[in-house]
């Protein structure tokens, strides 16, 4: 096996507030191999976007990394000074966010923004950069890139804007792309195109992708491995087929059962009662214990760490070992 491209170990992110310190991410560890797509799923507030933000060094203050480390190709990046991190971002890590309207400047042409990014990170002249920008737009499937490069954002549709954002993220051929809900703002038919595009570009460039989404369907179709997050911790991580069909953590089981599927009929969906705890009131022991139907005394006092269960790793004292009947 090749050395992992991204290694996150025991990452802990805190938000100091007037009423005490909020622990937003606790003991997050995972790695991504070159060319691999890791999906990160979870419900709102589980900390999935925050994990992405910590990796690209864009945590909103007062949020800060309190412990743990992030290594990119062996080099530690979580403690780099701002200017150095700025160079890593874009050059080595590309980012795609949910809303293309907020990640691009409406007052400049897309060509201007692409050329700016390219000349910042690569040693190219303006005209070479423009040629590269046109190539990038073409590679993301934008028709007539020679003409489109001089257009402004409002002249593009939602799907086309997201393609421009992907072109921008790829501008300096980064080794890692962090995509935070890249298809959530798009319609299903466009979503399919963007996912196909993301898969294609990482295959062509050999880039690793961390795909943050709440859509299990997108994960199933795109990723090699998936991490399921709950209340700031990883509940389960493993190969995508195993996590979907043979989940070990009761939360993953509930999450999978609550998604209406296209190929089966059920009168009622499996439901997990209650909702995710707020960061201010994370229960002792396993954070999922108040909603869990397999809870035992140990779950209420002692926190489980990730441990191998079958093909996946789950943080649970009583993992589901039998195959879930579909």
């Amino acid at each position: 096996m090749t050395a992992p491209l991204l290694e996150v170990s025991h990452l802990r992110v805190e938000f100091p507030t007037r009423r005490g310190t909020l622990l937003a991410l606790d003991d997050i560890s995972f790695s991504i191999a070159p060319g691999e797509i890791l999906g990160v799923v979870g419900e709102s507030g589980a900390g999935k976007s925050l994990t992405g933000a910590a990796i690209i060094g864009l945590l909103d203050p007062p949020g800060r990394i309190a412990a743990g480390e992030i290594r990119l190709a062996g080099r530690r990046i979580d403690n780099l000074p701002y200017e150095q991190m700025r160079r890593v971002r874009g050059r080595e890590i590309g980012a795609v966010f949910q809303d293309p309207l907020t990640s691009l400047n409406p007052l400049y042409t897309v060509g201007h923004q692409l050329v700016e990014t390219i000349t910042t990170h690569l040693d190219l002249t303006a005209s070479q950069a423009r040629t590269r920008a046109i190539e990038l737009l073409a590679s993301t499937g934008i028709p007539a890139p020679e003409a489109r490069i001089d257009h402004f954002l409002h002249q593009f549709s939602g799907g086309m804007r997201q393609r421009v954002v992907i072109a921008l993220a790829l501008a300096a051929s980064p080794k890692l792309i962090v995509a935070d809900e890249p298809t959530t703002a798009l319609d299903v038919s466009i979503q399919a195109q963007i996912i196909a595009l993301l898969k294609k570009v990482c295959k062509d460039q050999g880039a690793a992708v961390m795909l943050v989404t709440h859509d299990m369907g997108v994960i199933a179709e795109t990723c090699d491995r998936v991490a399921v997050m709950y209340a700031g911790r990883i509940a389960e991580i493993g190969p995508v087929a195993d996590v979907i069909h043979r989940p070990a953590h009761p939360y993953t089981v509930g999450l999978m059962g609550s998604i209406p599927a296209m190929d089966e009929d059920r009168e009622r969906l499996l439901q997990i009662d209650g909702s995710m705890p707020r960061l201010t009131a994370i229960p002792a022991g396993c954070a999922f214990n108040p909603r869990c139907d397999r809870v035992v005394e140990r779950c209420r006092v002692e926190r489980p760490d990730l441990a191998q269960v079958g093909a996946t790793s789950a943080a649970c004292w009583r993992p589901v070992t039998v195959e879930v009947a579909r």
Binding site: E43, A220, S258, M262, R268, I272
Partner: protein
């Protein structure tokens, strides 16, 4: 066969999106109109669920608003239990009719007044329609309603901000149920919710339908959710219905090329690693829709007739489809 509870005939809504008068005069711009809903007809049987699906801008929410009278129709009619809603809402029968049909909105953060207690929010329709006498009566009825959607009667004293998204959507449902309606229009009731919470809300909606015999118009862009709740499914594209079929039929044998494309496009958790059928193109600008069949620029089956002539919604093998290719059997 009994008479359908809701019958919509040739419903249309045109919005005037022209630039202001001065701009039109100075810049010589013409008036502009969007045909948000353009000749939609369907019927919903009592106790059943019709789901409307489609991508953003296809007019599904406009249909919902037309049905409850939040917009006035440009053309066509909506009849509820045999009464024309436009005429009834303008006359003395407005109150009783409004009592019988209610609406649930998409965003439970925007549809509940943050300054009101849950008690007042849920009791408002009760008071408005004179269904309760006095505060004690209202309190008791609100308590019953909250219990019926799985909340605690004591929650009536709280404010909306003290609830999570799923709980707020339950409050919206409790408010909609306050007048004992027969027909609920649900405009994307679960799109703003997380999946585990969505499951809770969908289960409650199904239980209520079974217990009270409710009829639903369910608007959604999520085909998997639609498959779970609907009896009949209508697929909309640029303001028109392109296919209406029973749920089982539609998902097993989609006829219209757009329906097939939509079904192919949804990522499903059980087809890990499957190669997707690439989808062509994007939804055209509704200000300037294509000629003929509005789907023809993206359709693999399009020919000259599709570019020139607009297909009507025809009954073909028990399914209503608006497509020349299906009609001619070249699909």
């Amino acid at each position: 066969m009994s008479r359908p509870l809701v019958e919509v005939k040739d419903l249309a809504k045109v919005f005037d999106v022209s630039p202001p008068w001065l701009n039109r005069v100075v810049e010589r711009k013409p008036k502009a109109f969007v045909h948000a809903v353009d000749g939609v007809s369907f019927a919903i049987e009592r106790g059943k669920t019709l789901a409307l699906v489609g991508e953003s801008g296809c007019g599904k929410s406009t249909v919902a608003r037309l049905l409850v009278g939040l917009y006035g129709a440009t053309r066509g009619s909506v009849s509820f239990d045999g009464e024309d809603i436009v005429k009834t809402l303008a006359g003395a029968g407005a109150g009783p009719l409004r009592r019988r049909m209610q609406m649930i909105f998409q965003d439970p953060y925007a549809s509940l007044n943050p300054r009101w207690k849950v008690l007042d929010i849920v009791a408002e329709p009760l008071r408005e329609h004179g269904l309760v006498k006095g505060a004690a009566d209202a309190r008791q009825r609100v308590g019953e309603l909250l219990s019926s959607v799985g909340l605690n009667p004591a929650d009536a004293e709280k404010f909306p901000h003290q609830f999570s998204g799923g709980q707020r959507q339950r409050i919206s449902i409790a408010r909609a149920l306050a007048t004992n309606p027969e027909f609920l229009v649900c405009d994307e009731p679960t799109s703003a919710l997380d999946v585990s919470v969505q499951a809770q809300v969908l289960n409650i909606m199904k239980d209520l339908q079974r217990d009270k015999g409710l009829t639903y118009l369910f608007i959604s862009h999520n085909l998997a959710v639609v498959r779970h709740v609907a009896d009949q499914v209508g697929v909309m594209y640029l303001g028109r219905l392109v296919e209406v079929a029973g749920k089982v039929e539609l998902f097993a044998r989609p006829r219209h090329p757009y329906t097939r494309m939509l079904l192919d496009a949804i990522p499903d958790i059980h087809m890990s690693g499957r190669a997707r059928t690439p989808v062509q193109g994007e939804v055209p600008n509704p200000l300037n829709p294509p000629s003929g069949c509005s789907f023809h620029p993206r359709c693999p089956l399009a020919n000259e007739r599709c570019k020139a002539e607009r297909p009507a919604l025809l009954e073909i093998k028990g399914v209503r489809v608006a497509c020349h290719a299906v009609e001619e059997g070249r699909d």
